[in-house]
Every structure is written in structure tokens, then in C-alpha cells.
Symmetry: C2
Subunit: 141 residues, 2 copies
Amino acid sequence: MFTLDPAFEGGSQALADLELCAVRLQLDARFPWLVLIPRVEAAREIEDLGAGDRSRLMEEIVLAGRAVRAMGDVLGRPVFKLNVGALGNITAQLHVHVVGRRRDDPAWPGPVWGVVGVTAYPADELAVVREAALRALDVTP
Amino acid sequence: MFTLDPAFEGGSQALADLELCAVRLQLDARFPWLVLIPRVEAAREIEDLGAGDRSRLMEEIVLAGRAVRAMGDVLGRPVFKLNVGALGNITAQLHVHVVGRRRDDPAWPGPVWGVVGVTAYPADELAVVREAALRALDVTP
């Protein structure tokens, strides 16, 4: 049975369920950022998924990229480059980060992973960003 | 027409051609590390690939993971965790890093991207690592 690692509760909030993945919104206003967690028991590496789920994961990465772009647009900070990463060095449960990057973001051109600090979303901004992401994911809130 | 960005020549060397991707071996003995570059003209984001190529890329990522594990094994430093990343903030041409990580590597648990310095492979070690990677990719040298 799939159970979400409670470590994800810390820095992100549930956004939607796609066919394969739980999608979470990373609570850091510096970067439009979604995390995809395949709902597959004990998966730690991409190779732990079957071939069908791997293809599905790839399609959900593309979809999440679209949602991240929509988040950037609604904030008036269009995404210049997508960054996609599956690391899992700290939280082992398989998850894929999809992050929208800009040349004026505080980590550019380095990766966002390992960057210290967090900037909280103002409540109204969070609502707007969630809505934009959900619309792009084509998931009814 | 696909042309490899000359930026890749700096830190890596050609290893093999898979169905979709050129595979390059990153010349940093600190981490068993391959780079996959889809041979698709003007691709910058995963979404720039067609659905078939996206699935193929996912399968080649899994294959590269196997090769990275083989590289770690042959060096007596088995891989503990795979890190997969498509960033492209510095070199825009679409490419995917597949890196083998260990708890005793110099960047753990942070990402390898943005870590300064490089450790050159001793020539004999490089030959052994190349051979192990090629065997795992099932590509005749």
C-alpha cells in the first residue's frame, strides 16, 4: 500500500492527484515548484516503476511543467527554463521536482536543491497560484 | 540537423550512441556520471520532444542508471542512490544527468550540480569505467 512519506508535509501542500502521481505544491514563493510522487509502494528509484508507469511519469512531468509555467505567468514572472530533478538523497520515497527558473531568481544558474531558506507565499498569492496550477493540470479543484 | 553544443566537450567525453541519445561520460572521478543528449534538433525542454521520444528518453535514463551503477561497482564504490536531473540553466541544449551518489561522496546529500572543482580520472581507471559503462549499456565499444 502506498503511503506518503510525512517528510513531504513539511515544505509542501497537496495539490492534486494525477493518474500516477500525487502532485504537491512546494511552499516557496521564490520558485514556481511542483513535486510529483508516484503512488507506487516502496518506489525509490525510477527503475522501480514498471515501463507503463515510467512513460506515465514522463507525461506527468510534462504536464507539471505546463502548470509551473502557468504559476509563473499568473505571478507576472514567466518561467525561462524548467528544471526537472529526481534526487531523493534526503527523502528516499521516489519524487520528481519540476521547478520554473528565471535568470533573476535567487539561485540562478545553480540548482534550487540545497538552497537554504524559504520565502512563504502571501495567502492571496498562494490561492491564485494553486488555481492556475490546477487549471493547467486540468484537474477540477 | 542535430549538432552537439560544443560546451559538452569541456567536461565530458563521448561514450556511446543509443537509439535517441548521445551518451557522454562526465570526466569527474568523484561521481560515476553520464549525460544523455537526445539527438533532436533545437530541443531545450523535455516538452520539445514528441511523446515517443519522451518514452524512449525515460528508458534510456533507466539504462544509464544501470551503467552508472556498473561504473560504481567496478571502482569498488557501489552507488547508493541515483540522481537524475534535467537543468540546462548553463548549457541550454536538452540533456539529462544521471549520477550515482554515495553517502561518502563530497557533495552528499546536496546535488552535484554547482559543486565546484573536478577530480580527473587516472587513465587506467577511466578505461575500466568506460568499459563497464559500455557493457551495461550493451553497446559494443
